[in-house]
């Protein structure tokens, strides 16, 4: 009886997951999407627990309790920590798939047919490499590991050789699953490859990498579906895999780079070129000088970047937004797809600070507005505003779509100092006549701007 109902429950779970993602298309329906997603997962778990082949619930219950105890604090992390939290959860997801694959291998060997073993090998390979790669990404985002890319001579050869070795041992296992001694070697190679894959990748490339790992984690769950002949796993895994794929394509396009370039290109070392020799003039301003320009503007476009997140300045930015709005200044936010450390990072930070989401405008839409803007206020963004991307074919970021900040009447850049961005290149925006550099910590500078504007306009 129950065997006839479980497939129906699984179908309902699959439909729920599809609806959950469909409703994420707009902010209005998104919360409904989460609820239907929870429903889908409850159906999937309930249906599985009802299977007659389950003889004991003891360890399942223990794992549920531990997982919940760890899961709740992971959901309560501040929005600034969301990129590293996401990397960590990719690691957990991938590890789960890899562990199940390992268990299934030892249960079934040597009687595994070629198709199942191929899926199992893929599940374990993707699972283990995504596990260590995500942990490395977590370490870099948490800044427990150096965020600069670590490179050495022959790195790509070593990585490719290692991957080749892992692939060969996988193929041998598919051909003769009875070679149980090879399985730990295979798993170890995958784990090691995951580590080496992320070592040469810099902080600015994290949005792409995190999306790619998202995709891999989904695909390993998908491969598990092939092993277990379970279509629900295949559907959910494929949805996750395609989501990660789309996000990484969007991120790559936003940087005008290819996958291979991100993974093997080792971007972001500081270049010691001849350009550093010439002294160029920078105009700096104090918050007192900048405040009236902002207060008298008709349209101010704020360009946030990772620096805003680092300085935790988003709440001060909200105060600035409120103050200027009260004075009748229109304030918009220009969001570059790769601003921050993961897709959409700036949006959640600004939404957390209570900035209405209809003020957050994507790059393609806002670029035509810069020409009419009185002030473009750049807070902690760098490479995504560099005009060299448009015209300097020698620049490493040439061809990357940028925010046309330089077209605004006045450009203000809030920055700690003149250090280059993650691409390691100088930003010519800083040397324009219309650019005012406001040096200092973003949180302090924006706070002072708010104070100055409020004081000179009789606000409190």
């Amino acid at each position: 009886m129950i065997d006839a109902i479980i497939p129906v429950i699984y179908v309902a779970a699959a439909v729920s997951f599809i609806l959950a993602l469909k409703w994420l298309s707009t902010v209005q329906t998104a919360r409904r999407g989460v609820i239907v997603g929870v429903l889908g997962m409850a159906l999937a778990v309930g249906g599985t627990l009802a299977k007659p082949e389950i003889v004991s619930y003891h360890w399942i219950a223990v794992a549920f309790v531990i997982g919940t105890i760890i899961g709740i604090p992971m959901a309560m992390m501040p929005m600034t920590a969301v990129p590293q939290r996401t990397a960590l959860s990719h690691a957990f997801g991938a590890l789960a798939a890899a562990l199940v694959g390992t268990a299934e291998f030892y249960l079934r060997t040597p009687k595994i047919d070629v198709f199942t073993m191929a899926a199992l090998a893929l599940e374990v390979l993707l699972g283990f490499l995504t596990f260590t790669a995500s942990l490395m990404a977590f370490g870099k985002l948490q800044e427990a590991l150096p965020t600069r890319p670590i490179t050495y001579r022959g790195q790509n050869v070593v990585n490719l050789a290692l991957f080749g070795l892992a692939a060969v041992s996988g193929v041998v296992l598919v051909a003769s699953p009875g070679r149980t001694w090879l399985f730990p070697v295979f798993g170890a190679l995958a784990l090691l490859f995951g580590v080496l894959l992320i070592i040469p990748i810099g902080g600015a490339d994290m949005p792409t990498v995190i999306s790619l790992l998202n995709s891999y984690a989904g695909l390993s769950a998908c491969a598990m579906g092939f092993v277990l002949d379970n279509h629900l796993l295949i559907i959910a895994g494929a949805l996750d895999g395609s989501s990660g794929l789309i996000l990484s394509i969007i991120m790559c396009r936003a940087m005008n780079r290819s996958f291979t370039n991100v993974l093997f290109g080792a971007f972001g070392q500081v270049k010691h070129g001849a350009a550093a020799a010439e002294e160029r003039i920078v105009r700096s301003a104090t918050p007192e000088e900048a405040a009236p320009i902002l207060a008298n503007g008709g349209l101010v476009i704020v360009v946030p970047g990772y620096g805003m997140a680092v300085a935790q300045a988003q709440h001060k930015v909200r105060e600035l937004f409120d103050t200027l709005t009260k004075l009748g200044v229109e304030v918009k936010f220009a969001i570059h797809p790769v601003a921050g450390r993961m897709p959409g990072h700036m949006n959640v930070l600004l939404a957390e600070a209570d900035i209405p989401y209809d003020r957050l405008v994507e790059m393609d839409e806002i670029n035509s507005d810069f020409g009419q803007a009185d002030v473009a206020l750049v807070i902690g963004a760098n490479d995504v505003t560099n005009p060299a991307a448009r015209h300097d074919a020698a620049s490493p970021i040439y061809g990357m779509p940028i925010l046309d900040v330089d077209k605004a009447r006045t450009v203000m850049v809030v920055k700690r100092g003149m250090s280059p961005g993650f691409a390691g290149i100088d930003n010519e925006l800083y040397y324009m006549d219309r650019t005012l550099m406001i040096f200092g910590d973003a949180k302090a500078v924006v706070g002072n701007l708010v104070k100055e504007i409020a004081a000179s306009n009789g606000m409190h």
Binding site: L21, G67, M79, T86, F92, G93, S220, M224, A238, M342
Partner: protein, 98 residues
């Protein structure tokens, strides 16, 4: 076995195309919640983990399975909760702005 595999492959290909079409329509505004939601959904690996644990065939499989259920549960609980938390923050002008 081969026909089962063939069917699975069809399901995979169709689900991938469906996924690509659906995800393409997700607002860029919501890309972070999208990632945390898909992360929670890919914790569907919990199904395989529960089966391996609950069948109690060998000590090794039970231990690995329990660890896998724990990992999946972390993502289910953490993933849905944080997605909901994020989405609650998105407010329109007038409602959210003071």
């Amino acid at each position: 076995m081969a026909s089962d595999f063939e069917l699975s492959l069809f399901v995979f290909v169709l689900a991938t195309f469906l996924g690509l079409e659906i995800i393409r329509r997700v607002s860029p505004l919501l890309h972070t919640p999208l990632m945390s939601l898909t992360n929670a959904i890919s914790a569907i690996a919990v199904v395989g983990s529960i089966l391996v644990t609950g069948r109690q065939e060998t000590t090794l499989s039970t231990v690995l399975g329990t660890a896998a259920v724990t990992c999946s549960m972390i993502n289910i609980v953490g993933g849905y909760l944080i997605t909901y938390r994020m989405l609650k923050m998105f407010k329109k002008s007038g409602k959210g702005a003071r």
